[in-house]
């Protein structure tokens, strides 16, 4: 049996289906975010000046299209999984015992909170029709 020695990523977990699934999903969500986040930064920080993007701009232009709401919500979901599973690995590397368990649950609670408020604003922000 050859060990998969990573110079980079985490060694692929063995014998635990849940950890293996997370390992794969971490990479898949990373590939999705490669496209979504770089597109997001390119449009909102390079093509448009962020200084102009006040609340009215978002309601009138950015989220006047269902496509961008779906885009941003998909990015939110992938980011929440990827960022919080990544932080779970950091916590797992740096702590143990009760501290690890407590911090891991705190991470999950924060993730759920952010998913809820992020989803609320994507779904409920009124769509302002730009004045002609």
């Amino acid at each position: 049996m050859t060990a998969q020695v990573g110079r980079t990523g985490r060694v692929r977990p063995r014998g635990n289906r849940r950890e293996l699934a997370i390992w794969f999903l971490m990479r898949l969500s990373g590939l999705g975010l490669f496209v979504l986040v770089l597109t997001h930064y390119l449009i909102l920080h390079v093509f448009h000046d962020p200084a102009e993007q006040d609340a009215a701009w978002i309601a009138t232009f950015r989220w006047s299209s269902t496509f961008w709401r779906v885009f941003d919500w998909s990015m939110l979901m992938l980011v929440m999984f990827h960022a919080f599973m990544g932080m779970r690995i950091v916590v797992g590397d740096m702590t143990f015992g009760r501290v690890r368990t407590g911090l891991t649950w705190a991470l999950y609670a924060l993730a759920i909170f952010l998913i809820v408020i992020g989803t609320i604003v994507v779904v409920t922000l009124p769509n302002v029709v730009p004045a002609a």
Binding site: T8, V37, Y41, H45, D54, I58, G118, I120
Partner: protein, 125 residues
């Protein structure tokens, strides 16, 4: 300290990946909350935007872009090596490729971001 540690490129690639990852995680928490405020308290969001548009805010925006770009490119390298383990042999070369991509994309983006900033401050037209 990082440079003297014996891990070489692989270890530096890992350290930068982790540092950029934690930094992006912190920003994402802030960013989900500020976008929530667009609906809940638009005035608060607008005043926050005013802080983002100050010189320290622009530097943070630029650093965020750098962290995202490194994390994205090095993440792609991790995926490539994990899915095609034979390429582990070339992990060092792939890391140099990450830096080439980082500079090629990063320099024009830097010019645009600081150009926008100079215009918004009235230093340039």
């Amino acid at each position: 300290m990082l440079v003297r540690y014996r891990g070489g490129e692989g270890m530096l690639a890992w350290a930068f990946h982790r540092i950029s990852g934690v930094a992006i995680w912190l920003f994402v928490i802030l960013h989900v909350i500020d976008i929530f405020l667009v609906g809940a308290a638009p005035d608060v969001y607008d005043s926050l935007l005013g802080i983002y548009a100050t010189p320290p805010g622009i530097v943070m925006e630029w650093l965020l872009g750098a962290a995202v770009l490194y994390h994205a490119l090095n993440g792609l390298r991790i995926v490539i090596i994990d899915f095609w383990p034979r390429l582990t042999r070339y992990h060092r070369q792939l890391w140099y490729l990450v830096w080439i991509g980082f500079v090629v994309v990063g320099v024009p983006v830097t010019v645009v971001i600081f150009g926008q900033f100079a215009r918004s401050m009235g230093w340039a037209t």
